[in-house]
Amino acid sequence: MIMNIKYFNKLTELLPEPVRQFSGLVFLTFVVIFSFAILNVFFGQGDELVEKMKKEEARAAEANKLSKIISTLPSGILTFYETGDHYKLSKEQYETVCKITKIIPQRAVMGANLINFKATKIYTTNGNQITETFVNWDKEKNKCIAGFILNGSIDGEEEKITVSGEVLNFLSTGIDTRVYFIKNF
């Protein structure tokens, strides 16, 4: 081992000064990169962290976009039919509001249930619990479709009911928008 070191020292002495300096620089660079690679294994989250940051940025951008859209709408009931009482949405606004709306409040569910006996029974028995809600823009029909899925038993039999229909009015709270009337008849 000692012989090897002595041989290495002699070899380096034989090399010209610029070559030795350059080799030292390359070695140092390698040591730095290698150290960071080791530190990254133990402390870094690498791709996962970048992915998280990207998602957060996308979420913030989306939230900003939505709040801009909502701020252009008046608070209260927004309709897509002729009425003198409430703000009537244009076709473009209707589509945009549909795409950003996620919430279906209890009154909208109860209204849709009015002509669905089984749905009402399950909804009441389950203590107003809904398995799933959805608000989708139907590209073919150019309509906003919303609904909800109810799971429960009626007369001992397990049933899964989907209640859905065209959304004809929304509620803008100033913070978000909600489905307010599902026309399912």
Binding site: G111, L114, T120
Partner: protein
């Protein structure tokens, strides 16, 4: 001095505003046995007759999302003769039982189209 006046005015306005909004919910009139209007926290209202704290007889129920029921109630359910107006202007006029269209009735869509028939638990019997 000016600051004190400002704080006093803000506090007073807050108290007045909260009492006004508080008065908007609850009962106006007699909501036990008699005629009264009850406003729920979600702004649904019922104005009509009450028997033993239940909706009984003639009344009008208005939902904040635009549904309006005018007609007879039985133990707080829509029961008897009644009209339900949907938010878009569609309308059902006829018989009700247990909160559903049950019996003879006429459904009028917002475009004027009509359907008369027998209804069972909200469904038209073809």
């Amino acid at each position: 001095m000016k600051m004190k006046k400002l704080i006093f005015c803000i506090t007073l306005s807050f108290i007045i505003a909260t009492s006004v909004s508080a008065r908007k919910t609850g009962c106006e009139g007699n909501c036990e046995n008699g005629f009264g209007k009850w406003t729920y926290t979600d702004k649904t209202t019922y104005e009509g007759n009450w028997v033993g704290t239940q909706k009984q007889g003639q009344g009008i129920e208005t939902w904040p999302n635009g549904y309006i029921y005018k007609g007879e109630f039985n133990k707080s359910d829509w029961s008897g003769q009644g009209i339900l107006i949907f938010p878009d202007g569609s309308m059902y006029e006829g018989e009700w039982a247990n909160g559903f269209m049950n019996g003879k009735g006429k459904f009028t869509w917002s475009d004027g189209k009509e359907k008369i028939g027998i209804w069972k638990n909200g469904k038209l019997q073809e």
